[in-house]
Symmetry: C2
Subunit: 129 residues, 2 copies
Amino acid sequence: MTRYSISELANYFNVTTRTIRYYEEIGLLKPERNDSGYRQFTKKEVTQLQLIFRGKKYGFNLDEIKEMVLLFDEDPTGREQLRRTIEYGEGKISEVDQRIHELQAMKGEMESLMQVFYDELNQLEEDES
Amino acid sequence: MTRYSISELANYFNVTTRTIRYYEEIGLLKPERNDSGYRQFTKKEVTQLQLIFRGKKYGFNLDEIKEMVLLFDEDPTGREQLRRTIEYGEGKISEVDQRIHELQAMKGEMESLMQVFYDELNQLEEDES
DNA sequence: TTTAACATTGACGTTAACGTGAAGTTCAAT
DNA sequence: ATTGAACTTCACGTTAACGTCAATGTTAAA
């Protein structure tokens, strides 16, 4: 199994090592250590970091992201636990869906604001002829 | 023309008056004042605040939002200025579009992560019969 | 006309998300 | 064996985006 050092990951994700250490500090990651105390990252942490940076980019804060990461980290055992996990996960997915819709609304708004400028420009070009 | 007080707007947008004052501090708003120095908000500021809160919700910081607000605030006069404004605006719109796509990707990823839980639950229900 | 609810400007406090040394340890290469 | 790069853990510093007083002025209603 491939192991990565902290600076390899920092380079890959274009962040500093401090950022990754901070994520461990607040419980977002729990990488293994080797005999001398160095962090050993695996594919699992890479996946988690991907989720983290995606989430950050779209306005979720680290506390919300933590909930998501932990959700997909533990395996819920037992029907009831599974059902709760699924319910929570569906809630998060519909939150994302909500954001998509509002972003689309925002885009529409910006486009209609732009329309004013388009009209003005057309007016100017017409006057020229 | 209808005028609004600072607390009317704060109530409407569900923020504190401090927030709105802060937005004026950093140049996001420039409301008129009456004789006694009270801020007088009009429809213009309402529109700007709408843009601000939308933007914030979707990961833009106040500096980026400031650029957008100022963009739709000034009337660019002259062909060249107008063209540059349109070009900039289109860039911003495609940034929003980009975010929409990535959010959709995120949603897809979360759904496939959930699939694992669905399968496990089905497995458990089957075992029961 | 006084009282309560609003407004104003400072100005210092707070929190999230890191930045930035310092002081020491480990490892790979010369 | 030594050097330099990369790692470790403190621990204090920084910035954005407000929160939270304090001291004072304004206004509408009783």
